[in-house]
Amino acid sequence: MTTAAALVAEEPRLHYLNESYGVRSWLLTTDHKRVGLLYLISLTGAFFVGGFFAVMLRVELLTPAGDLLQAETYNKFFTMHGVIMVFFFLVPSIPAVLGNFVLPLMIGARDVAFPRLNLLSWYLYVLGASFTTYAVVSGGVDTGWTFYTPYSTMSSTTQVMPTAIGIFIVGFSSILTGLNFVVTIHRMRAPGLTWFRLPLFVWSLYATSLIQILATPVLAITVMLLGLERLLHVGIFDPALGGDPVLFQHLFWFYSHPAVYIMILPGMGVISELVTCFARKRIFGYHYVAFSSIAIAVFGFLVWGHHLFVAGQSVYAAMVFSLLSYLVAIPSAVKVFNWTATLHKGTLEFRTPLLYALGFIGLFTIGGLTGLFLASLGMDVHVTDTYFVIAHFHYIMVGGMVMGYLGGVHYWWPKISGRMYPEGWGRLAALIIFIGFNLTFFPQFILGYLGMPRRYHAYPDEFQVLNVMSTAGASILGVGYLLPMIYLLWSLRYGEPAGNNPWDATGLEWQTPSPPPRDNFEVTPVVTGEPYAYPGREPAHG
C-alpha cells in the first residue's frame, strides 16, 4: 500500500506509551493500543496458569497409576486447563491482543469505532476471569470444559456455578470485541481502502467477529439454562426431571464448534501477513484466501452435530453433519495451498515470524487432515473421546493458533514496543516450540487409535511409553513458551530501536512511527493500491 501523505521525518517524541503515565491512565484508557496491551498482559497470565495445569496433567500421566494427583484433583486440573485455555486465552488471544492493537492501524483509523466499549470488553474479561479464579481457589470445578449434563447440573459437587458465571460474562467481552471490529471495518477504513485492498488479517478478523456476535449469545443461553437446572432444578437437561441431556450437547456445540473457528481464523489471517511480508510477495489468490475466511465462518455454523456421532443422535442427522463437516475442510485446504503457492518464487527471509508461519502451515495441515478422520462417521466412532481427538485439536489450537499468535506477536512487537526482539533467541524459541509440540502431541494420535480414552487419570500399562514421550515433549514445549516471555521483556529495555518499518512491509501500520502516536497517524493515509504490493523482478524465462 502507498499513501499520498508524506511521512513525518523526525522521530516522534510523544507516543501512546509515554503520552501519559500512571495506573489511572492505563485503567481508564480508551486507546485501542493500550487496551490491546492490557489484554496482552491478562492473557499472558491466563496462558501460564492454564499451562501450569497442563504440566501437572502431563506429569501425572508419566506413570499408569494415578499416583501424583488424586482422581478428583486430576479431573479439576484438566477442567481448569480447558476452561482457562479456551475461554480466557484462545478465544480472545489474537482478536483482543493483536486485533485490538493493529486493526485500526491497518485500516488507517485513529481508533476502533467504540473506544469506550473496547475498554468495557476488557473489564468484562477481567470480571469473568475473577469469577473463574474464585472457582479455582475455592475448590475448583471438575466437569470438563464441556460441562456435559446431567453431570454438571445434578452430579458434580464442585464450583460449577462460579465457573459458569465467569464464562457467561467473558462471552460478552467477546461479543463486544466482535461488534466493535465489524463496525470499525465497515466505517473507519481510510480513504481509498476498499474491501479488496484490505489486508487479509482484516478479512479474517471480520469473519471471526461475525462468529463472535452470532454464536456467543447461544453460549450465554446454554450457560443460563445450565444454571437454572443446577440451582432451581428446572428440568431442561436431566431426564429425571423430564429433560434431555443431548439437548445440552446440541446447544453447547452450536457455540463451541463455531468457537473453534474463532480460535483459528485470526491465526490464519496472521499467517497471510507473515508469509507475504517475509517472502516479499503478493499473496497468491487474494480473493480465494479472503472469501475462504467467510466460507469457514458460515459453514462453521452448520457442523456442530459432528461432536455427537456416538451421543445418540439420529443416524440421518449424523450423515448430514458428516457431509457438511467435509465441506468446511475445503476452504481451509484452499488457504494452505495458497500460502504454499505464495512462497513459490518469493525471496524468503527466515526471520522468527516466518518460522512460526511455516510451523503453522505444517502443523495446521496435520491438524486439518486428522479432522477428516473425525468427520468420517465410521472412523469417528472409534477415535472420538480418545487421545486422537486431543491430539487433533491441539494441532489446530496450539500448533495452529498459538503459533499464529506468537508469530504475530513477534511480527508486530517492533510496532508495539518500538524495540526489536533478539533474533537469534527468537528463532531458537520457535524451533524448540516446534520440536516440543510435535513430541508432545504426535504420540497422542497413536495413543488414541490404540484406544486410550481422554480424561483418564490412570491408564493401562501398555500406554506408558507413548505417554512418557508426550510428557517429555511437554517439558520441552514449556521451555519454548517461557523463552519469548523472557526475551520480549528484556527487549523492552535493551532491544534495538525498531524504526517505523523494520520488515520493509507494505501495511499501513508500518507507515506510522513505532510506537505509534496516540492517534496513530499524523496525517490520515490515503490508499491507492492493492495490499502486499512488494517490488517484483521480471519473470525468469526459459
Binding site: 482422581a71 479431573n75 471438575d142 456435559y148 446431567p150 453431570y151 452430579s155 458434580s156 436431566d238 431426564p239 429425571a240 434431555d244 441431556p245 443431548v246 517472502a279 510477495k281 497468491f284 489468490g285 480473493h287 456416538v310 451421543a311 445418540g312 443416524v315 450423515m319 458428516s322 467435509y326 475445503i330 485446504a333 484452499v334 495451498f337 504454499t340 512462497l343 513459490h344 518464487k345 518469493g346 525471496t347 527471509e349 511455516l358 495441515t365 487432515l369 477428516l372 478422520f373 468420517s376 465410521g378 472412523m379 469417528d380 466412532v381 472409534h382 480418545t386 487409535y449 490404540l450 481422554r454 480424561r455 487419570h457 491408564y459 501398555e462 517490488p535 517484483g536 523482478r537 525468469a540
Partner: protein, 311 residues
Amino acid sequence: MPLFPEQASTLAPRVDALLFFLLGVSTFFTLLIAGCIVVFAIRYRRRPGNEMAEQVEGSDRLEIAWSVIPLLLCLVMYAWGAQLYFAAATPPPEALEVYSVGKQWMWKFQHLSGPREINELHVPVGLPVKVLMTSQDVIHSLFVPAFRVKQDVLPGRYTQLWFQATRPGTYHLFCAEYCGTLHSGMIGQVVAMEPADFQRWLAGGTGATPAVAGEKLFTDLGCITCHRGDAQARCPELAGLFGRTVSLTTGRTLTADEGYIRESILDPGAKIVAGYQNIMPTYQGLVSEEGVLELIAYIKSLQTTEAKGPS
C-alpha cells in the same frame, strides 16, 4: 509397546481399512505441503541474486483444481465412513442380546439366559451380540477398542451397539465419556470365548433369567391387575406386543420397542394406546433401570410364547 490395536471383531478390519485410506491421503498431502515448503525454503531463500520476488497473479485454474480434487477425496471418505457407520448402527436381527446399565462407576451386564456380571462381559466368538444400554445417573460411553465400537450410554433412554467378536481373548472395556471422579476406574474387560466355552460359562451362571425375574416383578408391582390379558382388561394386552405396530390416541402409530415399553412404564401418560384411558400411574422411582429391563424381557418372552408356541 503396541502401536496398533488388536483386531478382534468383524468391524475392526473394516475400520482399519478406512484408516489406511485416510492415512494414505493425509500422508500424501502432508508430504506434498511439507515438501513444497522445504524446497521453496531452500530454492527461494533470500540471497544475492534473489532479493526480489517474482510477483505473480493467482491462478483460477489452480484454485479450482485444489478445491475440487480435495472435495472429491472428501466425498469418498464421507461415503466410506457413512457406510461403515450404518453397518455399525444396524444389528443383525439374530443378534444375541445383553442388557447393560452404567452407573458411577461400574458396568452391569445381564445376559438374557440368566448370568449377571459387573465390569466384565462374556461373549461368544462368531455370533453377533447386541448390547442394549442405559444409565442410571450421568452419561457414560461403552468403548471396546479391539472391536472398534463405542456408544454413549444415556440416562432416560436406551442406546445400543453390536459387534461380532472374531478372536477369543480378553479385551479392554472403557468408559469413554467423562462421568465424574472415578471415570478412569470405570473400566473392565470383554472376554470373547469359543461358542462351546461360552455355553459352558452360561450354564455355570446362577440367578433367574431376566424374563423370570420380570414376571415376578410384574406380579409384585401389581401390573397384572390391569394388564390381565383378557377382553375386560382396562389396559392393553402385552402378549405379542413387542415389535408390533401400536396405534395411539393421537392417531400416530409406532413400533413397540424397548424404548417405548420403558417410557410406558416410567411415563405412562406420554403415549396412550388408542381405545384406552390414561389411568396408569407412573412407576418412576418404584422400579430400577434393571427392573425395567427385566420387565421388558418378560414382555418379550410373552411374545415368544405366543408367536412360536410352547417349545
